[in-house]
């Protein structure tokens, strides 16, 4: 399953790296890519719970998931 999240407050390459790092550590996440220009994080996952955990991880780092 793939899901693209709209994420606010990303502003540089480090934001992409940080979110990619924290999300890729979550069980069930198979692939992550972030794009600060588009304000998106695309997640591929094989466990339904991984998506919610990813959103929480993004919020925990100070970003806002808006969709």
């Amino acid at each position: 399953m793939d899901k693209t999240l709209k994420v606010e407050k990303m502003h540089c390459r480090s934001c992409e790296m940080l979110l990619t790092d924290v999300i890729s550590e979550i069980d069930g996440v198979t692939k992550v890519s972030a794009d600060f220009r588009k304000g998106t994080v695309t997640i591929s996952y094989d466990q339904p719970a991984a998506l919610e955990l990813s959103k929480k991880a993004v919020e925990k780092e100070g970003y806002t998931v808006i969709g």
């Binding site: 502003h11 790296m17 940080l18 220009r37 588009k38 304000g39």
Partner: protein, 319 residues
Amino acid sequence: METTVSDGKKEYGLRLTGMTCATCEKVISRVAEQSGACVKDVDSRNGTLKLVCDEKSLDPIKRKLAERGFKERREGELADSGRGDPDRVKDYIFSLLAGEPHVEVEAKLTNYAVASSAILIGLGIFSYGSLFKGFGSSSTTTALLLLVIASAVMTVFSYLHMSCYRKSVSCMHGMMIGMTIGMMGGFMTGALTGATNGMFIGSVVGMAFGIALGLGVGRFSGVMGAMEGVMAGLMSGTMGAMLSVMMINDNLMIFLYILTGVCAVIFGGLSYMMYREAGSAPNPEYSGDFKKFFAASALLSAMLLAIMMYGPKGPIPLR
């Protein structure tokens, strides 16, 4: 630099390139800690990392950091090696034009500025014959009207953009914000009112606008920014009026065009500086909506035009 700590572990001090913000610090800390190091300090301002680890782990950590763009810095090399790179500015402008999310506030305010300018110019054309009299030829009147609108819109843009950084800027950034807006606002209003009303009114009005603007934005970072803004407003308000009066018979209108153009570049530079130094606007809610932008621009334009036309000495017909 290295210091032996215990169990064969040593404290190392690394100087890295590419660190620009707090997120870079987080990324670097994670890389080091996942490799078994203990991070003592990471500082993006100085581009330094202090960590404790064994000697064997150091090179893999350096390699992983380099893969992420944080290479070990040579003597004399800047921490943020991209500083001064014109491509960064180009990148920012293209992002702004494309309305990318990381410059959402700037893109929104740019749209508001364009729309407000168009409406105000339209209103100016509509009321041209009845309201705007005494400035000299019709081309001079048109030019002054455009310069007033441009000055007002630029000032409102910059004020609202800097409002989005309130309480999240350092004293140094706050002083820069207060100084830039106080100085540009005072200079433009002082020059325009000085050109049409003479030295006294121009100086008083320039000072009043400059001080109010400088104080208004400088206070976001505390008393240092506020003081800097007030002083910049004081200086530029009088200077703008003085230069206009001195140039009254010497291509004053051309000077006003140049002044407004330079102010536009400086306001743009301030917005870029804050984006680069403090990241995307952290409090976008303070940028307001279109109504607020337009109302502030219209009010500022109307106040300036009223003083220029109905001030005690005005308007002095310009060539």
